[in-house]
């Protein structure tokens, strides 16, 4: 790999920034096809009920209505990670999102009018909205599609993990603390609401889907299973995606429903969610209750962690049920920990079902873990920085779970934020006054080189160069706004020595692009980047051969720069820089035996004997391993670490928390593009601040009470605190140019650090999120009451 990087590491703006800002970008909502119909979905009125009858006759008669479907009209399989989710519900409903019927009509208005004409008779049942209730022996079975596999009929999934000698470590512990943490339901609230356009052509029986999925190849397979079709007859085109954050990792009923409407009518059909529907019917982060017991010896060394988690699964199971893969990593491997015993279960309820969300369980785990470290420090009378530094992870460590930290910036991240935020100076807040300041610390560990959960964690790439010297990168990976297209283009520009504007990225069509597992686990720059570099390496071997021929040399060492291929001076091992510069100064028309133009090489390949294409493909599979049945193994190509130190000011009159400064240090391996990296950090942090302080999808008896931005308190640009970011470069040899995944990390420790800061400011104990003004005033009032009682 090249040493003097020309493009990588430079603050290059997102190449699609202009088209997104000007409105030129074509999102799913912008798609209009000839003869297109508009689909809408009738959802249940009750979260738990028997369906006695469905009468669609009046809806069918409405002029402009082309098709109405219910479960009886379709021959399909269940969907979801556990195949426990019927696309259209029959006999009973179990969740307020449940789809009962769907209409395709000439206009949206007609379609909506038709919904009102559908008559459904319900027999309302008492639902179960608390996972603990669902676990009771006499509770009815909520999801009838799986069952019998676990000790209780309402358990959807369980995980057990352990390492070390728990009993021994408990004995060694000078302090032991137990607490229960409660984490809320929050939602992605993507800028673009859920959307799909389906186009089934009856003549060739092929289905074309314009879909915002994050995992096009898994989606294609899932869709085929649902519709009982051949996967290859389904082509997925991804329009510009207006936000993913994990929400598009699963396929949801509206997608096969749209396909079914198109199959029935033979016309294109589009379904677009309204904002309210988006809040009600798109997935959420897992709400969970975490019972955590931790210990430390007298010196502050962590001894053990014992974890019991109950997750509210909702009525159906999504990929979100597998978040314990990530949660257990945080508990088993963030900071050195001799013994760990972890149990988690996902429990069916009649609530809305949870899905996957940036961080994948890690924000919840890290909140509990890092709050607990503060409590331990208090109990031991130790500094909150000291206890963390003492236990921080190190390079070369193989954790109890088998994660191998070939590089590890944990300590450096901690030291950086502690120093930059003057943590030690600020940690004792002033005692009086209306406004109280506090400071809090938290770290995180996350996969940084993909995660081997699926059979392959790989990505394919094809690179071709045209006779004009332009390069097309056909990558399996997906752009969801994170900037992967830009970073991949930068890598190609770097390696091929051509201008960025000569690089085109094709990444939206399953009929064209090679396989990739999808965009998640902060994996794209790492996995798709390595895949691209692999393809370019192969392509260069071909180009080098031709270049050598044209330059009449047997050498095989070349430099790619300025659109030229230069012969390397291999004697001294140093590139022929001096020569190159003198060449450039000369009239480039004059033939020089030291270089040849890249486009000429390609033309000679295409048109000279033996005719050959300047094209190469490569499939990259990370070196990571599947975990064994006990969840042990090196699951990722590399690991990312981060620490945040956050200063807050609490208004004790109102309970409002103002986040003043956030100091972030993150082990990113290597900065590929500082501008895009800042974007990930700032966006992630604001999502983290929202998780800490304001966001919560309020649910009562299965119904969502705040399905709008008015009452769902997502923060805005005006709420962004001062962010001070210090990238830590550990140059992981597995990563492209040394880079690790960065996407999820910035949000993971934020809520924990903010809660720690608030507790530091007010000397209260907070165990729940979000930390609302009301909770703060209540805690202060209780503290006051206690003080009075003890006086």
């Amino acid at each position: 790999m090249k040493k003097n990087l020309k493009v990588i590491g430079k603050p290059i703006p997102k190449h699609d920034a202009r088209s997104r800002i000007t409105g030129e970008a074509v999102y799913g909502h912008d798609i209009v096809l000839p003869h297109m119909l508009h689909g809408v979905i009738l959802r249940t009125e009750h979260p738990s009920a028997i369906i006695e009858s469905i009468d669609v006759s009046a809806a069918k008669k409405l002029p402009g209505v082309v098709c109405v479907i219910t479960a009886d009209d379709v021959d399909v399989n269940n969907i979801s990670y556990k195949r426990d989710h019927p696309i259209l519900k029959k006999n009973e409903v179990n969740c307020i999102r449940d789809e009962i019927a769907a209409v395709a009509a000439e206009t949206k208005e007609i379609a909506r009018q038709a919904l009102k004409l559908i008559k459904v008779k319900y027999k309302i049942r008492k639902g179960i909205y608390d996972p603990h209730e669902a676990l009771k022996k006499d509770a009815p079975q909520i999801n009838k599609f799986i069952g019998g596999k676990f000790s209780n009929k309402n358990i959807a999934e369980t995980f057990h993990y352990e390492h070390g000698n728990l009993a021994e470590e408990k004995k060694k512990s000078a302090v032991t603390i137990t607490r229960r943490f409660t984490l809320p339901r929050v939602t992605h609230a993507c800028m673009a609401t859920s959307n799909i356009t389906a186009h089934y052509t009856k003549t060739d029986k092929k289905l074309l889907l314009y879909s915002s999925t994050q995992v096009p190849f898994l989606y294609q397979r899932d869709m085929a299973h649902a519709l009982k079709m051949n996967p290859s007859d389904i082509r997925i085109i991804q329009p510009v995606i207006g936000g993913g954050f994990g929400s598009k990792l699963d396929m949801y009923p509206f997608e096969p429903i749209c396909a079914l409407l198109s199959i029935k009518t033979g016309r294109p059909v589009q379904i677009l969610y309204s904002r309210e529907e988006e809040f009600i019917a798109s997935p959420t982060r897992q709400p969970m209750i975490i019972d955590l017991t931790v210990g430390a010896d007298a010196k502050g060394n962590f001894t053990f962690r014992e974890i019991n988690i109950i997750k509210d699964n909702g009525a159906y199971t999504s990929w979100g049920a597998t978040t314990p893969f990530v949660i257990m990593q945080a508990f088993s491997s963030l900071y050195k920990i001799p013994a760990c015993c972890f149990d988690a279960m996902a429990v069916y309820t009649n609530n809305v079902f949870a899905g996957s969300f940036r961080g994948y369980g890690n924000p919840q785990a890290t909140f509990a873990l890092e709050r607990m470290i503060d409590l331990l420090a208090d109990e031991l009378g130790m500094g909150k920085a000291e206890i963390r530094l003492l236990n921080a992870n190190e390079k070369g460590e193989v954790t109890g779970q088998g994660l191998h930290y070939e590089t590890c910036g944990h300590k450096e991240c901690l030291e950086t934020v502690i120093a930059k935020s003057h943590f030690k100076k600020k940690k004792s807040p002033e005692k009086s006054g209306r406004y109280k300041r506090g400071i809090g610390l938290a770290s995180m560990l996350h996969v940084g080189g993909g995660a081997k959960i699926y059979r392959s964690d790989g990505c394919g790439t094809t690179v071709k160069i045209d006779p004009y010297g332009f390069c097309t990168v056909i990558t399996g990976s997906t752009e969801i706004g994170q900037g992967s297209e830009t970073v991949l283009a930068m890598m190609a520009a770097e390696e091929l020595g051509i201008d960025l504007n000569k690089i085109k990225i094709i990444n939206t069509d399953t009929d064209v692009k090679p396989w990739d597992v999808g965009v998640h686990a902060s994996r794209t720059s790492f996995v798709a980047g390595n895949s691209l570099l692999g393809a370019i390496k192969i392509l260069k071997e071909k180009l080098n051969k031709k270049a050598a021929q044209l330059l009449n040399t047997n050498d095989s060492y070349f430099d790619y720069e300025n659109g030229n291929i230069y012969l390397q001076n291999t004697n001294g091992g140093e590139p022929a820089n001096a020569k190159k510069n003198s060449v450039l100064k000369k009239n480039s028309e004059i033939p020089d035996s030291s270089f040849v133009k890249l486009d000429k090489v390609v033309r000679e390949m295409h048109f000279g004997e033996p005719n050959e294409l300047a094209i190469a493909s490569y499939f990259y599979e990370p070196s990571s391993k599947f975990q064994d049945k006990t969840f042990k193994g090196n699951v990722s190509g590399t690991y990312a670490f981060a620490s945040q130190s956050i200063e807050v000011e609490v208004d004790t009159y109102t309970g409002n928390v103002k986040v003043l400064d956030i100091y972030v240090a993150q082990d990113v391996g290597k900065v590929l593009n500082p501008l895009l990296l800042d974007g990930q950090i700032e966006g992630g942090i604001l999502q983290g601040v929202g998780y800490a302080l304001s966001e919560e999808l309020l649910v009562k008896e299965g119904r969502i009470l705040n399905p709008n931005f008015h009452n769902y308190k997502m923060l805005t640009a005006a709420d962004i605190p001062n962010i001070h970011f210090y990238p830590v470069e550990t140059n992981d040899k597995q990563g492209p140019y040394g880079a690790k995944g960065v996407g999820e990390a910035p949000l993971i420790p934020t809520a924990a650090a903010i809660a720690n800061a608030v507790c530091n400011a007010l000397a209260i104990e907070l165990l729940d999120l979000p930390v609302t003004p009301e909770k703060i005033l209540k805690a202060l009032a209780e503290k006051e009451k206690l003080k009075k009682q003890t006086v």
Binding site: D651, Y653, T654, L715, T716, A718
Partner: protein, 296 residues
């Protein structure tokens, strides 16, 4: 949401349109930032919206200062109120209320008339106007004008005294007391977000003192604490005769307790009644502290 729109451009046309629609269903639309939300929630059939935004007449869009006070048209946007120097210098409470409303984009279209006529207990500019003891200037279908004190304008949640043949054309804010030399004026809005936030509770105050700092007149209003914005008369009276700078800790509490007697808040999604009362008490007494403004 489906409706017809009629856009009169003169007052005469406006009154003519109103006449024509007396027997039909119609609504006024100013900036439509409340109206559209409402119609989305509760669509009405055969509805006509009389669009006020193109009526170019000082009656609706002008600002006029006189010895008696300050008159401005109902169609002035929150943005225009916010950037008006006179308002900033003389009625800081209104300036701050306009500044705290929604976001830059919404402030370009949201009008003060709409904020008052929507009669929401959480209306920010409306709350400031109650503290300022403003009058509402009402235009009848015949062209006749009348005045109603703003405290009498609201009759319930989203209800006003306006009849079908009337609309609000302007707001009159009485000039300050002649002896008034020191003005303590401000708007305290409590919510979660820095922008796009509807108040959980709000407090508007406009307190005038003489050269010696003695309070000669006070206006205090609370929002999101009762079915309508309330003028806390008893609390305001309590201040008269006291020196603003010398109000003791106990007097602050007494003042806050009196403000609280006007509050009959409810539990809703955004906060409990308990929280609203706690905070209202705290921010009321904080008027007299150095760091009176909420930090957010």
């Amino acid at each position: 949401m489906d409706f017809n729109i009629i856009t009169p451009v003169t007052v005469k046309e406006l009154l003519g349109t109103m006449k024509k629609f007396q027997k039909k269903k119609f609504r006024f639309g100013a900036g439509c930032t409340d109206l559209l939300m409402e119609l989305k929630r509760n669509p009405e059939e055969n509805l006509t919206v009389i669009n006020l935004s193109r009526v170019k007449d000082p009656l609706f869009t002008g600002i006029k200062k006189s010895a008696a006070g300050f008159r401005f048209g109902a169609m002035l946007t929150a943005h225009k109120i916010m950037v008006n120097e006179e308002i900033r210098n003389n009625f800081k409470v209104l300036h701050e209320a306009a500044e705290s409303l929604a976001s830059t984009q919404i402030r370009q279209v949201a009008t003060v008339g709409g904020n008052v006529c929507t009669a929401s207990p959480s209306g920010d500019m409306a709350c400031a106007l109650v503290a300022l003891e403003a009058d509402c200037e009402i235009l009848g279908i015949t062209g006749k004008k009348g005045m109603v004190p703003i405290t009498g304008f609201f009759t319930g949640v989203r209800k006003t005294v306006l009849k079908k043949n009337e609309l609000l054309c302007g707001i009159f804010v009485p000039a300050k007391n002649k002896k008034s030399k020191n003005i303590y004026s401000g708007f305290v809005k409590i919510g979660t977000r820095q922008s796009m936030e509807c108040s959980v509770v709000s407090l508007a105050y406009h307190i005038q003192a003489d050269a010696g700092g003695k309070i000669i007149h006070a206006g205090v209003a609370i929002g999101s604490s009762a079915p309508t914005i309330r003028f806390a008369e008893d609390a305001a009276h309590y201040l008269v005769g006291k020196k603003f700078e010398n109000i003791s800790v106990n007097e602050r509490k007494e003042f806050a307790a009196r403000v609280l007697t006007y509050a009959t808040p409810i539990d809703d999604l955004r906060a409990t009644a308990w929280y609203r009362k706690e905070v209202l008490f705290n921010i009321s007494k904080a008027i007299f502290e150095n760091d009176a403004k909420n930090s957010r």
